[in-house]
């Protein structure tokens, strides 16, 4: 997944802990092979190659992931759209490449989650039009965190953390009987990934953050970050950082992206409708938090 994965478990037995962690990493690797947008042999690439031609039989993981993605698209008015592939494949955030405006306009019509069809009875996925591409990058990490935690629990582990980059899922309590303390990165911190603006204590929850500081480059004085609006083809400008807390990592991950792209007003409405907890820093620097988190988020005294 091209990211740092950290797994922490609580167990009285070191060998049991090691075994469970190995299994969880194996589960994540297996998903990676199924879901990687850039890996020609992945099931996602197979669906993409058959766009406009035929439905592709897929594993239960891929089917489930796509159904979850479609649900998030519905709830975010298409601001999160897993068919964003034609757009994301033109940008390169490592090499600082932005596509021409004309090309962006050309490809926008190929992005529409309504033309992505799943058939649960037949376990098939079908992209209706040629040129459409599924890029599951905005949902894979959260889903993988869910599956890794399931794997740990199957091994009899009762408490731990799976952190796939910033997509974190925690379960159980720490050895001292306390919930896990999760820091939320300060969007103004330049390169210091440990600079935290606030902390929140969680158990049996997933938390994800989408921020404009994560992968970006500057072109002609304009900041191009990786959270692309599928409707405009350009990075969304309404927010600096959005954190979503949900039972399922797959939703925390995808809704953080979708709400970020929707912007402050519509985004906060989505929190309301879905019942997820969360926090948003909008582009003016104003902090919004959902009512249930008031008094539960501890802000740092000296954010740098």
């Amino acid at each position: 997944m091209d990211t740092l994965v950290t797994i922490t478990v609580v167990s009285a037995s070191e060998s049991k802990a090691d075994k469970s962690i190995d299994d969880a990493f194996a589960a994540i690797e297996k998903l990676e092979k199924l879901l990687n947008f850039y890996f020609a042999e992945s099931e996602i690439s197979l669906i993409n190659r058959n766009a406009g031609l035929s439905g592709v039989k897929v594993s239960s993981d891929v089917l489930r992931l796509i159904d979850k993605a479609l649900y998030v698209s519905e709830k975010t008015q298409g601001s999160f759209d897993v068919t964003i592939g034609p757009l994301t494949s033109m940008y390169n955030f490592h090499k600082h490449i932005r596509p021409d405006d004309g090309k962006i306009r050309e490809k926008l019509s190929l992005i529409n989650y309504r033309d992505l069809l799943t058939d649960n009875a037949k376990s098939t996925v079908y992209l209706k039009r040629k040129g459409m591409l599924i890029d599951p990058g905005g949902i894979t990490k959260g889903y993988a965190a869910d599956r890794a935690v399931e794997t740990l629990k199957k091994q009899g582990i009762h408490a731990g953390i799976v952190a796939i980059a910033g997509d974190i899922k925690v379960f159980g309590l720490k050895p001292d009987g306390k919930p896990w303390k999760i820091g939320i990165r300060n969007p103004d911190a330049k390169d210091d990934k440990d600079d935290v603006m606030a902390t929140v204590e969680l158990t049996d929850m997933a938390i994800s953050t989408s921020g404009d500081y994560e992968r970006y480059f500057i072109s002609n004085g304009e900041k191009f970050h990786h959270l692309l609006d599928p409707k405009t083809g350009y990075p969304a400008g309404g927010c600096r950082s959005v954190t979503v807390i949900a039972k399922e990592g797959v939703f925390a991950d995808a809704f953080a992206t979708g709400i970020f792209i929707l912007g402050p007003e519509k985004g906060m409405t989505v929190f309301n409708e879905t019942g997820f907890s969360g926090m948003m820093i909008d582009s003016r620097g104003t902090t919004h938090i959902t009512p249930d988190l008031r008094g539960k988020i501890e802000f740092q005294k000296n954010p740098s």
Binding site: A12, D167, P175, I182, S241
Partner: protein
């Protein structure tokens, strides 16, 4: 009386005394840094509740009672270890001396943490962003 006049009235012995006092006070700054325990401490928790906060630079042995019995903790030469525990696998005892981080005895719900007094409770377990 100006400073120059004071200086003229001092004898050689005065000047030596002055330099001596000055050097002693300067040296004090360095000595104190070594002697004062830069707020490092040992936190002993049972069942998630802090039971003792102890300075790491005073040698002692103490016993704390957990659900399974008594855990014996030794602090010596700015190091900490668990010397005896009622748990079966004795992982906490096998861990030996620590100078930072934690020793966790899950069966007896005892956690011994060496750290900065102010910081040991603040650090997050993971960071999202």
């Amino acid at each position: 009386m100006s400073f120059r006049k004071i200086l003229l009235k001092t004898t050689g012995a005065d000047r030596i005394l002055f330099l001596l006092l000055l050097s002693v006070s300067l040296a004090g700054i360095f000595f104190i840094k070594d002697i004062i325990p830069q707020s490092r401490s040992v936190l002993v928790e049972v069942n998630g509740k802090p039971v003792y906060i102890l300075p790491i630079d005073k040698n002692r042995t103490l016993s704390v009672e957990g659900p399974a019995g008594n855990t014996i903790i030794e602090i010596k030469d700015r190091k900490v270890r668990i010397t005896d525990s009622p748990c079966i696998n004795k992982l906490c005892v096998k861990q030996g001396w620590i100078t930072g981080g934690s020793i966790v005895c899950l069966p007896n719900r005892v956690v011994v943490t060496v750290g900065d007094k102010d910081r040991q409770k603040d650090g997050p377990d993971a960071i999202t962003g």
